[in-house]
């Protein structure tokens, strides 16, 4: 079935209330910490208090005598018994040599490299006993100097080496595009806009902390790992094949209800490996629940780029070339997909929505004495969008053009469009998004609102951001050629039961996205059965055939397309059964609204009768058709999908305090076909608040000398709260994706990608009259006030 036919089916576009909500609203959700296994002990990790130190000794003798202690595992105990945590994406330097890939041992052996690094795991009968015993583990350290900020790593003056394999702390250099052509275009351009910016480091902070339970069954020799994770099959693959050397069929990974992820629960973490291994070692089920302080210290962080960019334009404001240099902080070790974020997921997006003919990007990635940095909602694409949309707005101001006008002059209008940075956009209508957004934002009334604000003694500004992103990384073979060490397909299984109800098994994972509803809508639409008769199962390697999980806004476009393929198979087989029952030829059977009919007649039978016949095959073509109605499909996309849109933000700035208030925020997105508009709007809301949070308040700060995390709790790291926002105005444009059967593009990250530059452009627009040209996120009252003060002083 094609995307056009699909979008017209019943239930598609319906704001169905969520099937999963009742359990969450009545306290019946089952998150990993709600699971308790028999004979369960508890683990606590001894973590490094130093950013960089040599370990002289780890003395567990006193701790071992503490009440309730089951056992303690140190780095030396597991040395040689397992591999280190793998990195899932190989990046090569321009000369073809591979990136530096130092070992990421599960527990530190000779050195610790960030505050929070894992030194030992203490297992005791209760969590309190484990915590007490962990405090009695004596670690003798020689503290070493640390290199903390990416700028300090990049200038190579620190004299610090984290890993012997990378003496100057560089993991790789990576380039994309034609440098000579870009330099030539910049040299003869009528105008060049330059920009230096920092993309501030963030802590993902899903409200459910990381948590895991390792278990082992001596009878079956099977391991089980319950874990708050976004992709349990990937977790199992990485852990069995790369770390523990276990056969996959002996390990079951279950990610039950998961309380948000935003990227931070994609990765295989040291704790997961320790718990799984130790379950057999101690013959105990072992639970570990992170406290929030541990989440701050040891969840993979996001962003942390320092960038210089130059945009060359002709006299009419047409973009001629873009040149970008970025230093990216990878943290102390390579997290699972860390290396892909500042490269494949970043540089390839730098054409944005524009026809810039030449782009050259150079990325230097650095190890620092900080927690590993990896994908966080958007992953590379927010960094690209922030850079591009900031420099485009700055160019507009330098040339005296409107923020909308400069974008309109440069929009791509013909599709498919091959960018100079490897991607081929299949479809889009950027001008339609811009026009709709400007109308919804009531841009015509901005001048009057600005005057009213100024009459109150405040400042008002407006900021634009026209973003594009790439979702559902694919296809697997091209990703493999670019360094991916895993496939990027998805798997779906449709199990029609004899009574006509359906269980859907999907390799996608819902941790808030509402798949149990959206995927059920897809199946209900196709099979013409009630949504109530469809259950969606995910998050269990013991039940779902395989899966790559949920990240990169891939679930509906890749996971949904796999389900569509399985439904095609179901429909094809069911038609044969129906043809047999109605004594017609297969080719004459039509299926719609849950009924099989013979073309041109009023003969029909319902889906339920076909399902029952498949399992009670008395009147059945057994000579040419197997009984049963159960089909599995794998889908590997032929291209990324490309959601895009225009966001417009209006802020008021208090001149006395520097406080920025979001007065209105308008988001018009093109997500292609939308299955459930209510759920999609919810995804946009959440993304916007994470993006606006980055722009206005969130900031992960380490002490530059000691490497201590200064923002290590919710008391120190500003999380967005309800009172920080107005109601947003949302709308959509629909150009269906041309290469999947649903026409969908994905919506999970758009808000976080598009919003930060819209906010900062608005703040800068408000401050322009005072002579403020630039400052870095987050636009806290202190920073804004300082910017206003320093511009006044210099004026």
């Amino acid at each position: 079935m094609g995307a056009s036919d699909f979008s017209k089916l019943p239930h598609i576009g319906e704001e169905l209330r969520r099937k999963e909500d009742y359990r969450f609203l009545t306290g019946a959700g089952q998150y990993t910490d709600d699971v308790n296994l028999a004979n369960q002990a508890h683990a606590v990790f001894v973590r490094s208090p130093h950013a960089h130190a040599k370990i002289n000794s780890v003395d567990t003798s006193a701790a071992m005598k503490m009440p309730g202690v089951v056992g303690i595992v140190t780095g030396k105990d597991i040395e040689g018994k397992m591999g280190g945590l793998p990195c899932g994406w190989l990046i090569n330097n321009p000369d073809g040599t591979p990136m530096k890939e130092p070992p990421h041992t599960i527990l530190a052996i000779k050195k610790v490299r960030y505050v929070g690094d894992h030194v030992a795991m203490v297992v005791a009968e209760t969590a309190e006993q484990a915590r007490d015993a962990a405090e009695a583990v004596v670690v003798d350290y020689d503290v070493l100097p640390a290199v903390v900020s990416v700028s300090d790593a990049a200038n190579k003056q620190s004299g610090v080496t984290l890993h012997d394999e990378a003496p100057d702390n560089q993991c790789y250099k990576w380039t994309l595009g034609d440098k000579a052509a870009v330099d030539a275009a910049i040299a003869k351009a009528a105008h060049v806009t330059k920009l230096d910016l920092v993309n501030n480091r963030l802590v993902p902070n899903p409200i459910e902390p990381r948590v895991a339970i390792g278990g082992y069954n001596r009878a079956t020799e099977e391991y089980v790992l319950y874990v708050a994770n976004q992709n349990p099959h990937v977790e199992r693959l990485l852990m069995t094949a790369f770390v523990l050397g276990l056969p996959e069929h002996k390990v079951r990974v279950i990610a039950p209800d998961v309380g948000g992820g935003f990227g931070s629960k994609i990765y295989l973490y040291a704790e997961d490996v320790c718990l799984t291994w130790a379950a057999k070692h101690f013959n105990r089920n072992i639970k570990w629940t992170a406290d929030r302080a541990e989440c701050f210290l040891s969840d993979a962080h996001g962003r942390d780029h320092v960038t210089h960019a130059e945009l060359a334009l002709d006299k009419d404001g047409k973009f001629l070339a873009l040149k970008v240099h970025t230093d990216a902080n990878l943290g102390a070790y390579l997290s699972t997909f860390a290396t892909a974020v500042p490269t494949i997921l970043y540089a390839t997006l730098l054409a944005g929505q524009y026809t810039t003919p030449q782009i050259y990007v150079e990325v230097d990635s650095w190890f620092t004495n900080t927690a590993p940095v990896d994908a966080y909602r958007g992953a590379g694409r927010p960094e690209a969008t922030y850079l591009l949309e900031r420099i485009v707005t700055r160019a507009a101001w330098e040339l005296g053009l409107g923020q909308d006008e400069i974008r309109k002059r440069n929009f791509i209008t013909q599709f498919p469009y091959q960018t100079p940075v490897a991607l081929q956009y299949d479809t889009g209508d950027f001008r339609a998004c811009m026009d709709k957004s400007m109308k919804l934002a009531e841009v015509d009334g901005f001048a009057a609102r600005k005057a009213a604000t100024e009459a109150k003694g405040k400042l008002r500004g407006i900021g634009y951001s026209s973003y594009i992103e790439a979702c559902g990384i694919a296809p697997s073979n091209i990703a493999g050629a670019l360094g991916a060490r895993a496939g990027l397909f998805e798997c779906g299984e449709i199990r029609v039961h004899p009574t006509g109800s359906v269980t859907v098994f999907t390799g996608s994972h819902s941790h808030g996205q509402g798949h149990e509803t959206t995927f059920a809508q897809v199946v209900a639409a196709r099979l013409g059965i009630p949504v109530e008769n469809i259950d969606v199962v995910h998050g269990d390697t013991g039940r779902v055939p395989f899966g790559m999980g949920t990240y990169g806004s891939r679930s509906i476009s890749v996971g949904g397309a796999a389900i569509m393929k399985a439904l095609d198979k179901i429909e094809a087989k069911a038609k044969k059964i129906a043809a047999h029952l109605m004594e017609a030829s297969d080719a004459d059977i039509e299926f719609a609204n849950g009924e099989f009919t013979i073309k041109g007649t009023d003969k029909k039978i319902p889906f339920g009768q076909v399902a029952l016949t498949a399992y009670v095959p008395h009147n059945y073509p057994l000579d040419k058709l197997e009984p049963g109605l159960n089909e599995t499909a794998f889908y590997d996309p032929t291209n990324f999908t490309f959601p895009g849109g225009t966001y417009i933000c209006e802020v008021e700035v208090d001149k006395q305090t520097g406080e920025v208030k979001i007065d209105r925020f308008t988001a018009v997105d093109d997500f292609g076909t939308i299955i459930n508009p209510m759920i999609v709007a919810g995804q946009v809301h959440g993304g916007l608040v994470q993006g606006i949070g980055q722009a206005l308040m969130e900031n992960c700060v380490y002490d530059k000398q000691s490497g201590q995390l200064l923002t290590g709790s919710f008391m120190d790291y500003a999380m967005p709260r309800a009172e920080d926002f107005p109601m947003f105005k949302l709308d959509t444009v629909c150009t269906p994706c041309t290469h999947n059967s649903l026409g969908t593009k994905g919506c999970g990250e758009a808000g976080a990608i598009g919003s930060p530059p819209a906010v900062i452009n608005a703040v800068l627009d408000a401050l322009r009259p005072l002579g403020v040209k630039d400052f870095d996120m987050p636009a806290t009252p202190h920073r804004v006030w300082e910017a206003m003060r320093s511009s006044q002083k210099s004026a």
């Binding site: 209330r17 969520r18 999963e20 909500d21 009742y22 359990r23 969450f24 609203l25 009545t26 306290g27 019946a28 959700g29 089952q30 998150y31 910490d33 709600d34 902070n205 899903p206 409200i207 459910e208 902390p209 209800d257 998961v258 309380g259 948000g260 935003f262 629940t289 406290d291 929030r292 302080a293 941790h511 808030g512 996205q513 509402g514 209510m678 759920i679 709007a681 919810g682 809301h685 959440g686 993304g687 916007l688 608040v689 994470q690 709790s713 919710f714 008391m715 999380m719 967005p720 709260r721 309800a722 009172e723 926002f725 109601m727 947003f728 808000g751």
Partner: protein, 164 residues
């Protein structure tokens, strides 16, 4: 230490270590796992329950401090036949939840909020929710849900009284 209180209308007589947090007593001794722990500094609000009708962060109070209290958790607010409390129903209707982890605390806070301020404005709702974090919804639909739930609580006051 001995402590007696009611949880969702049922009398509890417990012998606990004095340092047991209320949230741990609920989750571990009574298997009421709908009340969640999201932080260690009483900021996130995922552990919010009602103590004598007022929203309290159960990670921030000892169980033994609750002598004689009436405690209500997310498991105790639906009708015996499973019909959701108006605030629960409003969260579903308005899509005021995504991953569901902050939801029980958010709903309990919202019930207290709307009991104290039956006709709360949007600005009041936003301000009063400052003790509860949600990382998924951007608060947009939560605010709508609280306003709808509050309206429906006023319309059906009998149902709004927690527990039986």
């Amino acid at each position: 230490m001995q402590v007696q209180f009611t949880v969702n209308g049922k009398a509890k007589n417990l012998d606990l270590p004095p340092n047991t947090l209320l949230v741990h007593a609920l989750r571990e001794l009574m298997q009421l796992t709908g009340t969640h722990v999201g932080c260690d500094t009483a900021q996130c609000g995922a552990c919010t329950v009602l103590v004598n009708g007022r929203a309290v962060k159960s990670c921030n109070t000892l169980a033994v401090q609750q002598q004689g209290a009436e405690i209500t958790t997310i498991e105790g607010i639906a009708a015996p036949d499973g019909t959701m409390h108006p605030m629960q129903a409003a969260f579903k209707e308005c899509h005021g939840l995504q991953c569901g982890f902050c939801t029980p605390g958010m709903v309990m806070s919202a019930i207290d909020l709307c009991t104290q301020h039956p006709n709360a404005s949007e600005a009041q709702v936003r301000e009063q929710l400052d003790g509860n974090f949600c990382r998924c919804t951007g608060y947009q639909n939560i605010v709508k849900a609280v306003m709808l739930g509050g309206k429906n609580m006023s319309a059906a006051p009998a149902k709004a009284t927690a527990t039986a």
